[in-house]
C-alpha cells in the first residue's frame, strides 16, 4: 500500500517564500535595468546639452565681439561725421563771407547815395573839418572851444539821416538760410562738470595768430562764440573759471575748466540760449542768414579714435 506523502506546511510555506523571493528578484532586476537605461539616456542627453552649451557660449562671444566692433564702427563713423560737419561749417563760413562783403557794400552804397545829396555837402565839409581839428580843441580858449562844439552838435543833427543810414542793420541776403554745426561736450556729467569744450569750425589760427583789419565772417563767428560761452558761464554763476583755447584737428576748441564748481542752472540750457540769442540778434549773421546748431556729444568722440 502506497503512502501519499502530503507536503508539510513547512515546505509549502518555504516554497511560497522562495517563489515570492524569485518574483521580487525579477521585479527589482527589471527596475534596475530600467533605471540604468534611464541614467544612460540622461547622461547622453547631458553630453548633448553640454556640447550645445559650448556652441551657444561661442555664439555669444561672437555676438559680443561683433557688437563691440559695431560700437567702435559707430564711434568711428560719428567721428567722421564730426570732421565732415566741421569741414562743411568752415566752407559755409567761407562762402557766406563773400555775401557779408556784398551786404556791407550794399549798406555803404545806400549811405553814399545820401552823402552825395547836395543839401548835405556843406555840412559834411564842416563835419570833416571838425574831425581833422578835434585833437587840437583842448588848446583853444574855452569860449571858442564851446562855440565850436555847439556848432558841431548842430552839424551832427543836420547830418542825422546819414548817421541813421549808417547805423541801420546790414541788409539781409535773399540766399537760403544755412546752419553751422557747433560741437559741445562736457566731462564727466552735467551735474558736476569738470571740463567743457565747444568746438567751432574756424581755424585755430584765429586764436594763435589774430589778424587785424576788417573782421571776416570767420572772425566774427569766433568772437561771438567766445562771447556766447562767456555770457553763458556768467549766467550760471561761474565767474572764476579758466578758459583756454585748443587746436582740435586745426579747428578752434574753447575749453573751460569747471573743476566741479557748483552751477546755478543748467549749463546746456545756458549755452543753447546764448547761441540762440547770437543767431537771432547778431547783425552780420542775420545779414548772411546764418544760424547755428549746438550738438552735445560724449567727450570720447572728440578723441582721436580709430580711422575708418
Amino acid at each position: 500500500m502506497s503512502v501519499i506523502t502530503e507536503r508539510s506546511d513547512l515546505v509549502s510555506q518555504l516554497k511560497q517564500a522562495q517563489d515570492w523571493g524569485d518574483q521580487q528578484a525579477n521585479h527589482w532586476e527589471q527596475k534596475q535595468s530600467e533605471l540604468k537605461r534611464t541614467i544612460q539616456q540622461t547622461e547622453q542627453e547631458i553630453e548633448r546639452l553640454k556640447k550645445r552649451l559650448i556652441e551657444l557660449n561661442a555664439q555669444q562671444i561672437d555676438l559680443e565681439t561683433q557688437a563691440n566692433r559695431r560700437e567702435s564702427e559707430v564711434s568711428n563713423r560719428m567721428r567722421q561725421a564730426i570732421s565732415q560737419g566741421l569741414r562743411a561749417g568752415a566752407q559755409t563760413l567761407e562762402t557766406r563771407e563773400l555775401l557779408l562783403q556784398r551786404q556791407r557794400k550794399v549798406r555803404l552804397q545806400r549811405v553814399d547815395n545820401i552823402v552825395k545829396e547836395p543839401k548835405f555837402q556843406q555840412k559834411i565839409a564842416e563835419f570833416r573839418q571838425f574831425q581833422d581839428t578835434q585833437s587840437q580843441l583842448a588848446e583853444l580858449p574855452a569860449s571858442y572851444r564851446n562855440a565850436i562844439l555847439q556848432h558841431h552838435k548842430l552839424v551832427q543833427k543836420e547830418l542825422e539821416p546819414i548817421f541813421m543810414a549808417a547805423d541801420q542793420p546790414l541788409p539781409k541776403t535773399d540766399k537760403p538760410a544755412k546752419s553751422i554745426g557747433v560741437v559741445a561736450s562736457i566731462e564727466p556729467d552735467f551735474i558736476q562738470p569738470e571740463a567743457m569744450a565747444i568746438l567751432i569750425p574756424v581755424p585755430f589760427e584765429m586764436y594763435s595768430s589774430p589778424s587785424a583789419g576788417i573782421d571776416s565772417l570767420q572772425q566774427i563767428f569766433a568772437y561771438r562764440c567766445v562771447g556766447a560761452v562767456t555770457s553763458a558761464l556768467r549766467k550760471i554763476g561761474l565767474s572764476e573759471v579758466s578758459v583756454n583755447y585748443g587746436d582740435h584737428k586745426g579747428y578752434l576748441s574753447i575749453q573751460v575748466w569747471l573743476d566741479g564748481k557748483k552751477l546755478n542752472g543748467d549749463i546746456r540750457q545756458s549755452i543753447s540760449l546764448e547761441f540762440q540769442q547770437m543767431r537771432d540778434y547778431a547783425s552780420e549773421l542775420q545779414a548772411v542768414r546764418l544760424g547755428m546748431e549746438v550738438t552735445w556729444l560724449p567727450p570720447e568722440l572728440l578723441d582721436e579714435g580709430e580711422e575708418l
Binding site: L108, V111, D112, V115, I124, F127, R128, Q131, I162, F163, A166, P169, L170, Y207, P210, S211, A212, G213, I214, D215, Q219, I220, A222, Y223, R224, V226, G227, A228, T230, S231, L233, R234, L238, S239, E240, V241, S242, V243, Y245, W257, Q277, M278, Y281, A282, S283, E284
Partner: protein
Amino acid sequence: MSSDLFQYLSLSEAAVQLDIHPFDIARYLSIQKGGMPVELRLSQQQISQIAEGMGLQNWWSEPMTLEEEDPKRLLVRELARRILEADWSYPTRADNLNRGLSGQEYTFVRRLINAFIKCELLLPKSTLTGLVIQKGTHAQWRDTLEAIVSGTEFPTEIASVMQ
C-alpha cells in the same frame, strides 16, 4: 566815400589798437549790460570805454630807470620794481604786465611772470575776462622784490629763467 565819416573799427582793429587779444574783448563785451553789440564794429569812444572798463594798463610805457648791462637782468629788475611800485588794492590783468613790450622782450617777460608766480611773488586768478594777477603770498614779499630790484639776490625760479 562815406566810410571816413564814421570811423568805426572792427573788433580785430580795436584789439590791435589796445594791444590785447580780440577774444578778451569779446569776453568783456559779452558780460556787459546788453551783451555784445548787434554789429561788431566799435567807435573810438567805445574803444576808450573798453580800455577803461577792462582796466588796461601799459606797464612798460615809462622808460627803464635802472642801470644794468645785461638786458635780461635789466628786465627782471625792472619788472620787480614795477611790481613793487604797483597799486595792489585791486587785481590787474595779467597782460598788463607785459603790455608795451614786443618780440624777445615780450616772450622773456611772459616767462618771467610765470616764475614770479611760481615763487609766490604774484598770485594768478582766472576770471571770465581773462587771467588777473594779485599780490603774491610770499612771506618776505617786499624784501625779496627789493633784493631783485637791487640785483643782489634772485629766487631760484627767476634765476633759472634768466639763464
